[in-house]
């Protein structure tokens, strides 16, 4: 069985996000007044596995070991079974 995994990485609450601040300032140059601008990173891949739970645990380990830095990041994992091989 193959699964699609999506990892959504965001900065922890209260962490300065210079990229988002720059985008928000640029939007205001175009006269769009917006607030609370955030940028997120999404990493997607597919992998084989036995169950959604196993895959989730494996992807969680990837987040801890490489994809995220626990000092500054929060992350969300979404696992979807593939209907057929892609």
């Amino acid at each position: 069985m193959k699964y699609d995994a999506e990892v959504k990485i965001s900065l922890k609450k209260g962490m300065l996000n210079p990229e988002a601040a720059t985008i928000q300032r640029a939007l205001s140059l175009l006269e769009y007044q917006v607030e609370n601008t955030k940028t997120l990173q999404i990493i997607k891949f597919s992998l084989p596995g036995e169950s959604e739970k196993n895959i989730h645990d494996e992807v969680d380990e990837m987040c801890q070991r490489l994809l995220c830095n626990p000092v500054i990041h929060n992350y969300e994992i979404k696992i979807t079974p593939q209907l057929k091989d892609e």
Binding site: L16, P18, E19, A21, T22, L66, N69, V71, I72
Partner: protein
Amino acid sequence: MKVGIIRFPGSNCDRDVFHALELAGGQPSYIWWNHRNLSDFEAIVIPGGFSYGDYLRAGAIAAITPIIEGVKKIVKEDKPVLGICNGAQILAEIGLVPGVFTTNSNAKFICKWTELKVKTNRTLFTSLYRQNEVIKMPIAHAEGRYYNDEIEKLHDQDQIVLTFASENPNGSLEAVTGVCNEDGLICAIMPHPERASESILGSVDGLKFFKGMLKKL
């Protein structure tokens, strides 16, 4: 004394560090990221650059390469390890020093001379400076803003090595730009001592980092 300079794809301060180590009286040689054994060396320097294109986060990919096993082993043998700029980001990513160096508060690459304060001289690297001595070394980074959610611990354990002495160009927490591990044998600094190691470069203040590191050897 033999000092290993670790090279990753994208390291670019390796030759400058080599030169500075020679000026300091060391015998440097390069070692590629895919080696695991560093036991021939008495000390290690991880130089600056853009290892693996800074993909994911600066230092994140270098932090999981085989040579890091060697670095962890050499640390247990009480041999000094110095990370400069990208090397500092790598040491923070591995967790060998506390905290993280992340995107500058103004989101720009900053390349300039800075005034720095030596906060502790209990580490080998800073042992030839006076405590609170102000020195001049350049920075060159886009991801150098130091952050740590347990900064008090660093004060308590005397782990802050360098702070910006006047302006805080990248928005670092408490202007911190160099930290060490608990016993002071692993040191991660964003400024470049190798670029301040002979008078023709504009400052010799950085050379003592290397001389101090070689002192024990």
